[in-house]
Every structure is written in structure tokens, then in C-alpha cells.
């Protein structure tokens, strides 16, 4: 790129935009290829996510041991039998890292998709309805935002007792306010468009306007926000596990780091690998999220 102003290559290649036929499979793949070449970091992020997703799905085939298998060697270093060594009671660190991806990814995915869906719904209703309902929702969002997220998570998990369901519920609550506010903003600018007015003038039923005219225009935004939130949610789940409020009896990266800190004398491998797995996963989601945001909103390009 030269010059001060970043002019990204156009997203729709000229000829395609003019042709009236739907793009063929090959053209679509070509476009994807162009996108990929323009966003090498996004591709890297996607590859990291795919790697961890595969590890989560095929954990029993990839991991040489079960996560709680006790080997006779304790605090072992890296070796061919134990790729990442073993920890204090002899559990294989590599196997635990592989199994740990199941918890991390499933918790994050479920809570972000669930929270973002609820947030989108609230945002659409709040933005479209306006009036008392809107102020009610917005004041609730204000309150939720004026609150350290980790403290909220801790209170909820302690109140309801740590379990898969509680943690997903608490993380969902953490996702909802931000998404609600962003979607509401988009709806406010969307609802004054002429096609919405036309639909209203044509006597369309309100749910129809919301579903047919508003929702499709904010869904892309919601998906972008979702991808950018995933990394943070993985970090939050790991922090909960680290503080001993994770899912009981599950192999979780956060808890393994906590164990490594509490076992003295220290064992480096036990601390490094689970934490590195968290970092790498979050990195993957952040890189992908940034790229998707840049592609969807070229004005933000260069803000990385």
C-alpha cells in the first residue's frame, strides 16, 4: 500500500457486479481466494480455530491418554511418551490440553451465540419500539455495563453453584448488554429507511417488518460483534476456572494453570502449555474477528 490513504481493493470485482447471472461456484471460490490473500492474518486465525476445533472433536483419537490418566512419572519434562510432560500427580499435559479445548470452545460458542441472539432480539425490539420499553431496556443495559464483568460472573456462578449450565448462563448475561446496544443503534438508523416506511405504509404487520426488513440488515453486524466477542469470552471462562469456579471435574485450561501456580516447587511445563493453549485460541478468534470486521466495514480497515 502506498500513500497515506488506504484504498482497499474493491470487494466485488467489476465484471461480477455487472453480470446479471448468479456467480458460478468457481467465481465464488475465486472471490474467497482473493479475500483470503488480502487477509493473511484472518486466514491464520481461521486455521488456528480449525486446529483447536478438530482437537476438540477428535480428542479421544488425538490424545494418547485420557485427561485423568495417572502416569507413574510425575512432573516429567517434554519427552516422546509425554509430548508436553506430565504434571504434579502424573497426568499427561498434552492430553489435558487437547481435552481442554472441548470445554473452552463449547462454553464460548454456546454462550456467545445464545447471548448474541438474545441481545439482537432485545436490540431490535428496543430500537424499533422506542418509548418506555426502549428506555427500560437501555437503563438495564446501563446498569449491566456499570459493573465489572468478572464480578458479575463470580456472583452468578457462586449464587447458582458452578456447573456447565450456570457458566453458560452467566457468560450469556455478560454478552447481552453490549450486543443489545450495538444492534439498537443499527436499528435506529435502519428504521427510517424508505423501504421500511414503504412496508409500513403498505400495512405490513409489525413482526413482518422486523423479520423481513430489519433483521436481515442487522444480522451481519451481530455476527461481526459475535466473532469479536468470542476471544474475550474464552478468556472469561478460563479466568473463572482459574479462580476455582469452572465446571467441576472437567479438564480445563484455566484450572490447570491454577494447579501449576499452587503446586510448589513449581513445574514450568504445567504452567506454560495450558496457558499457551488459551492464548493461541483467543489469538485465533481475535485475528478472524478483526478480518471479518475489516471485510464487512472497509472504513475500519487499517485500524488494526
Amino acid at each position: 500500500m502506498s500513500g497515506e490513504i488506504a484504498v482497499g481493493p474493491p470487494l466485488i470485482v467489476g465484471d461480477d457486479a455487472l453480470s446479471l447471472q448468479a456467480p458460478t461456484m468457481r467465481q465464488r471460490l475465486g472471490k474467497l481466494g482473493t479475500l483470503a490473500r488480502q487477509n493473511p492474518l484472518g486466514v491464520l486465525g481461521l486455521l488456528i480455530i480449525i486446529l483447536f476445533t478438530l482437537a476438540a472433536i477428535f480428542a479421544p483419537w488425538i490424545a494418547p491418554f485420557t485427561p485423568n490418566h495417572l502416569s507413574r512419572e510425575t512432573d516429567a519434562s517434554i519427552s516422546s511418551a509425554h509430548l508436553f510432560g506430565t504434571e504434579r500427580v502424573g497426568r499427561d499435559i498434552f492430553s489435558r490440553v487437547v481435552y481442554g479445548s472441548r470445554i473452552s470452545l463449547s462454553v464460548a460458542l454456546i454462550s456467545v451465540v445464545g447471548g448474541a441472539s438474545i441481545g439482537t432480539l432485545l436490540g431490535i425490539l428496543s430500537g424499533y419500539a422506542g418509548g418506555a420499553f426502549d428506555s427500560l431496556i437501555q437503563r438495564a443495559v446501563d446498569t449491566a455495563i456499570a459493573f465489572p464483568p468478572l464480578l458479575l460472573l463470580l456472583i452468578i456462578t457462586l449464587a447458582l453453584g458452578p456447573s456447565f449450565r450456570t457458566i453458560v448462563f452467566a457468560l450469556m448475561l455478560a454478552v447481552i448488554p453490549g450486543v443489545t446496544r450495538i444492534v439498537r443503534g443499527a436499528v435506529l438508523s435502519e428504521k427510517n429507511n424508505q423501504y421500511v416506511e414503504a412496508a409500513r405504509a403498505g400495512g405490513a404487520w409489525m413482526p413482518r417488518i422486523l423479520l423481513r426488513h430489519i433483521l436481515p440488515n442487522v444480522v451481519a453486524l451481530a455476527i461481526i460483534v459475535m466473532t469479536t466477542l468470542l476471544g474475550g469470552i474464552i478468556l472469561a471462562e478460563a479466568a473463572l476456572s482459574f479462580l476455582g469456579l469452572g465446571i467441576p471435574n472437567a479438564a480445563s485450561w484455566g484450572r490447570d494453570v491454577s494447579d501449576a501456580r499452587n503446586n510448589f516447587p513449581y513445574h514450568l511445563e504445567s504452567a506454560i502449555f495450558p496457558g499457551a493453549a488459551i492464548t493461541l485460541t483467543v489469538l485465533g478468534f481475535n485475528l478472524l474477528g478483526d478480518s471479518i470486521r475489516d471485510i464487512a466495514d472497509p472504513r475500519l480497515r487499517g485500524s488494526r
Partner: protein, 332 residues
């Protein structure tokens, strides 16, 4: 401006009331009776009742209770748990901890300086790392320093605070058998240097994420300003490049940076919870965490209120600082 501040203070107050009611209600769903924790084993029913009486746990929860089954739906309770709690907050009586049986307010005052120092040091680290590196990255765009800053920022946003903190404790210990002087907290006024040695590593670790965020934001914000017309005007006037960047570029690009610094406070307060645990600092985060683990109602209640109040006040300060940074912004 004054009306603006007044209105914001009022809405902030409303937010805190809602927050306290929500936390109050949430804490009452917690299974487990604090009375059982107090008299521990062999607790007879009369003893439990006595403790309930003493702690006021036999009173109704809120001043207004709604019962759909009774003939009159709404009853007003003159004496309620929330009522006496709210009365206490106004008179700086935040109740008593169920764990050490000491009143909350003096403990809060004793522990606040630790967390305050942690927060201030973290903000200083965030600013002195985030802003200059972000500026350099924007001015020398697509150069090697720029790539270095961007990659560092990407990593800074991805590493978990508790992992870095753990490594900061473990790695020096493994390699050089060095342990930071933790364990017994030394006050700033007693031994400033030893205090700094205790406080610097936790603040630096906590600042990692926020500094990375500020670096990225500073970069993009300055890049945005650099392509504005008034920058060209300033150069055309014959100003030196340095004063163009500093007085025209930097000042205008700081607004989003300050907003985000304000927003980061909430996250940092949460991070302090973990950091104080790991580095065994006797601050408010540590107090909150122990109170949560022990279902210490009065303490958790007060600490959430303190956290919420901090966030509200910081946001107000951020909004006021806009007017100073950009005279075009006026509040009415």
C-alpha cells in the same frame, strides 16, 4: 455544563440503586444460610433463630413486597433488610463482615489505598506504553516498528492476565530462584522502594491487556486524524512537523483513547480481583473474592456498590474531559 453534570449524577445514582437491588436479590438466592456458617456445627434451631434475629435476616427483604396470592397485592414493610442496608450506606455504615466480624467500612478504608495504587500504577503503565507506541506506529505506518507494535498488541490482547501473572512468579523462580518480595505487604509511606517492588509486577501484568488495546486504538485514531484537511492546513501554515503532530494531531486523536481508557476501568477492577489473589496483595479485590467465597453478604454488597460507583464516576470524568479536549463539544 452544570445541568449536564447534575443530570449525569442523577442517572448514575439511579444506576447504583438498581445495581444494589439486583445484587441484593441475587445474594438472597444463594443457597446456604450464613447463620450456619457462623455457629458452624451442632447448631440448634433456637441458636439459628437468634443469629437470624441478630443479623436481621428474619426481616422481609424489600420495603415493598408483592404477593400475588394475598388479597392486597402490595404490602409496605417499614423495617426491611434492604431498607436498613440503604440507611446504613447513607451513614457510611456498611454492615459487618460475617467472616472476621469487623465492620466493613473501616476495612474498606484500610484496603482501598492498595487497590487505588494498583489501579493508578496500571493506568500509568497503560498510558506510557500504549500512547507513545501507538503514535510511533501511526506516524511510521507499515514500517518495522509499526509491525512490531501491531504484533505485540495482538498478543497483548490474547494472553490471559492470570497466566502471565503465574509465569511472572514461576519463571524467575525456576531460572534464578528469585521471588518477588510478596507475602507481607509494605505500605507506600513505610518503604516506597520496597512497596514499588511489590506493586510494579502486578500493575505491569494488569496493564498488558489495556496497553495493547490503547496502542491499537491510538494508532487507528491518529491515522484517522492525519488524513484530515486541517492537518494539511497546519502544515501549509508552515508549522514544524512536530507541532503539527502534537498540537493538531495528537490532541484530536485522544478523544476515543480517553473514552476507552475510561471503559477499561471496569475491566481493570475485575482484573484486580485475580491479580490481588495471585500476588497476595491485601486490597479490595482480595477482600471481594474472599467475601464471595464465604457468602459474606454485607461485604459483597458493599464491594459491588463501590465498583459500580467507581465506573459511574470515571465515565462522568471521561465525558467532562471531552469538552476540554475538543472545544466543539458542548454540553447542555
Amino acid at each position: 455544563m452544570q445541568t449536564f453534570i447534575l443530570r449525569r449524577l442523577l442517572s448514575g445514582f439511579a444506576i447504583l440503586v438498581v445495581l444494589s437491588v439486583a445484587v441484593f436479590a441475587l445474594l438472597r438466592i444463594v443457597p446456604g444460610d450464613p447463620a450456619i456458617r457462623i455457629c458452624q456445627l451442632n447448631c440448634r434451631a433456637e441458636q439459628l433463630d437468634a443469629i437470624h434475629e441478630q443479623l436481621g435476616l428474619n426481616k422481609p427483604y424489600f420495603p415493598i413486597s408483592v404477593d400475588l396470592k394475598s388479597p392486597k397485592f402490595v404490602t409496605f414493610n417499614k423495617d426491611s433488610q434492604y431498607g436498613s442496608y440503604a440507611k446504613g450506606v447513607v451513614t457510611f455504615d456498611l454492615g459487618t463482615s460475617n467472616v472476621d466480624h469487623k465492620p466493613v467500612f473501616p476495612t474498606l478504608r484500610k484496603r482501598l489505598p492498595v487497590t487505588l495504587e494498583l489501579m493508578i500504577l496500571t493506568l500509568i503503565f497503560t498510558i506510557i506504553v500504549g500512547i507513545p507506541f501507538g503514535v510511533v506506529s501511526a506516524i511510521y505506518r507499515n514500517s518495522i516498528p509499526d509491525y512490531f507494535v501491531r504484533i505485540t498488541a495482538i498478543f497483548g490482547l490474547a494472553v490471559p492476565v492470570f497466566w502471565v501473572a503465574t509465569l511472572v512468579l514461576i519463571i524467575p523462580n525456576e531460572l534464578w530462584s528469585y521471588a518477588p518480595p510478596l507475602g507481607r505487604y509494605v505500605r507506600l509511606t513505610d518503604d516506597p522502594w520496597l512497596n514499588f517492588k511489590q506493586m510494579a509486577p502486578p500493575s505491569a501484568v494488569l496493564a498488558l491487556g489495556s496497553a495493547a488495546g490503547i496502542m491499537r486504538l491510538m494508532r487507528s485514531s491518529l491515522l484517522e486524524v492525519l488524513r484530515q484537511d486541517y492537518m494539511r492546513t497546519a502544515r501549509a501554515k508552515g508549522l514544524r512537523e512536530r507541532s503539527v503532530i502534537i498540537s493538531h494531531g495528537l490532541k484530536n486523536s485522544l478523544i476515543p483513547v480517553i473514552t476507552v481508557l475510561g471503559l477499561q476501568i471496569a475491566g481493570l477492577l475485575g482484573g484486580a480481583l485475580i491479580i490481588e489473589e495471585i500476588f497476595t496483595l491485601p486490597g479490595l479485590g482480595d477482600y471481594t473474592f474472599k467475601a464471595l467465597a464465604n457468602k459474606d453478604f454485607d461485604v459483597v454488597q458493599s464491594m459491588t456498590l463501590y465498583a459500580g460507583a467507581t465506573v459511574v464516576v470515571v465515565n462522568l470524568i471521561v465525558d467532562i474531559s471531552y469538552a476540554w479536549l475538543d472545544p466543539r463539544i458542548r454540553y447542555s
